[in-house]
Symmetry: C2
DNA sequence: AGGGCTTTTGGAAACGCTCCCAGTAAATAC
DNA sequence: GTATTTACTGGGAGCGTTTCCAAAAGCCCT
């Protein structure tokens, strides 16, 4: 095997100019059939592979996309990334991933880093929509951006795949209220991020239908520890909530751990609704009532929107529904 | 804001040669203090960012790593990737991900693609260790490779992070045998892949301690559907197993679904042990006995080994333990 | 047969950097 | 005071492509 075959070698072997090789390989319209065959033969004979890096260098397009995520090990985000990658790879794009792990500064660092790698676009599931450095980096990034359930100031042009959280949260809240719950706590995720905001809004809106219903919001972050500590705290207070609305799948694990520790039974002692599925959520005891969304689809749609923009289209926004799956984790509160 | 500031602009502004700017930015030892400051001032004033792409072009190193994975939406793999990314980003490396989704040909395609992107190294969690095209691509890839619980022919030099599956499977098997189980089925994942192989080996070895124990292997793939269909089939046969050893977390979901459909209770009707954790495995009913491994650590170690190799070290192999967590999903079989 | 087209091809300049090589200036040696 | 080193700096080639421009080749027409 030869070490490095480049266009030069191909050109020499085919007895043509380098530029002709390039023309053939880029499917330029003005090459003769003869030329095309000679070049392709030489390419095949030498096992030549086009160097993507040099291509990018010349054309300015790297055929790569950066995915800036709050945490790829969260199954929802991971599935988003898989959906995006599937879609992107069809068009020859590669996906670079990152993990900000709840640290907004890392969002900004990654955006900057991806920019200096000249990615052709960005898919964002960032940690904080208002972090000034993040916004600054995004403003400096002049290429297509698609948000996954995030919102940015209007001066940063970006497409978005959003969820209609109300469509899932409202029926869930109504379900709890109908069962007789009056004290509901929402243990919510990162404060400055669309899903947290929308879920809180929807829950509060649902609560408005009955003046006796009191909804308390406890924002923190998408983490086990937040769910764990909050649950311990609120369930030990004098007048604990009769229902907990869990604002994220990682939070859920903490909540369950705390409830187990407190020896509280679901739904006897407290009712539970959770947002964002986990693979086993349907099998836990009791099967959880949950507000879910199709993460794979979101990733695919985000990639589609991004490719659209790369091909010159204007940024678009897609809104996808969420849905509520009743589960046995909700029951009438004991008085 | 100016559009593109390159070294040229910086050099002009600082009144020095482009090569001097480069020297300062690459921390070359022979630059005077005066020069360093002039350049750095100009860099700061212009907000210049080094172009990683052009750098790579010149130096040959892209500071990027390809992660070829069977399926990044599997929480274990996702967590591997997060571990790797965390570690790599510390050294300025980026991680490119891919999803072969159980299709060995895609493994090969991705390796090829990453090679033409000139990634500096590869982390592999491939679908099939014996796929000829995969092996061919890997042989052609002359840069560092690290395997995550995979094995390759000896002529392909590669580091590896392996699991000692026996350390978790043996006690699990022993536990089942001690409880009195004699017919155990292992619903196993992709056939030509180390974890499947090792788990089967360990289980069979454990079974040898008692001549009455019969272990049946049913390989298939790491998928819900495999778990689902296999479970339906084996539990409907005349002499169904008294214990199922589930060889992967995605398989588990299928198994549970099938058992629910068959209205079989765990552990009354059948005992269950599962491999590879899922976030909620400890909360399902009953809490599952499981063989687990630390996925985050694996990813980090893989990245470390890779960086080591990139810096000139010889490929190394690390072996990490697995462990068995007893759960209430195992009980003595009803006779 | 020669002029004006169109199609196809070759040559060379970028893309933004790094790094080798010469060259200048300062410092040391004799 | 000249020769030799040492310490920096500037110029320019080159990484592997694409792409612009001009030259060549073919074609049609009068």
């Amino acid at each position: 095997m030869n070490e490095k075959v480049g266009m030069r070698e191909v050109a020499k072997r085919a007895g043509v100019a380098i530029s002709s090789v390039s023309r053939v390989l880029t499917d330029s319209p003005d090459v003769s059939e003869v030329m095309r065959n000679r070049v392709l033969d030489a390419v095949a004979a030498l096992g030549y592979e086009r160097d993507l890096l040099a291509m990018s260098m010349r054309t300015g397009a790297t055929q790569s996309i950066g995915f800036v995520a709050i945490n790829v090990s969260n199954p929802v985000i991971a599935t988003n990334s898989v959906g995006a990658e599937n879609e992107l790879s069809k068009s020859g794009y590669s996906l670079l991933i990152s993990n900000s792990q709840g640290n907004p500064e890392l969002d900004a660092d990654y955006i900057k880093h991806f920019a200096s790698r000249r990615v052709d676009g960005l898919i964002l599931s960032i940690t904080d929509e208002e972090n000034p450095r993040t916004l600054e980096m995004l403003r400096a990034f002049k290429k297509p951006i698609v948000l996954i359930d995030r919102e940015l100031p209007a001066d940063i042009p970006a497409g978005a795949v959003l969820h209609d959280h109300a469509s899932g949260v409202m029926p869930a809240a109504q379900h709890l209220i109908n069962l007789g719950h009056r004290r509901i706590v929402l243990i919510s995720g990162a404060p400055r991020v669309r899903p947290s905001r929308e879920r809180a809004l929807a829950l509060k809106a649902a609560a408005k239908t009955n003046p006796d219903v009191k909804v308390t919001l406890i924002p923190g972050g998408y983490s086990e520890i937040h769910g764990y500590e909050t649950t311990l705290k609120i369930m030990r207070e004098p007048n604990p909530p009769t229902a907990i609305f869990v604002g994220g799948n990682q939070i859920l694990v903490g909540v369950l751990r705390a409830l187990r520790e407190l020896k509280l039974k679901v739904p006897t002692d407290v009712s539970l609704v959770t947002c964002d599925d986990l693979p086993l959520a349907e099998f836990i005891d009791p099967p959880l009532a949950r507000v879910t969304r199709d993460a794979m689809n979101v990733g695919e749609k985000a990639a589609e929107l991004l490719l659209e923009q790369i091909n010159g289209a204007e940024p678009r926004t897609i809104i996808l529904p969420t849905s509520f799956a009743v589960g046995e984790s909700c029951a009438a509160p004991k008085k």
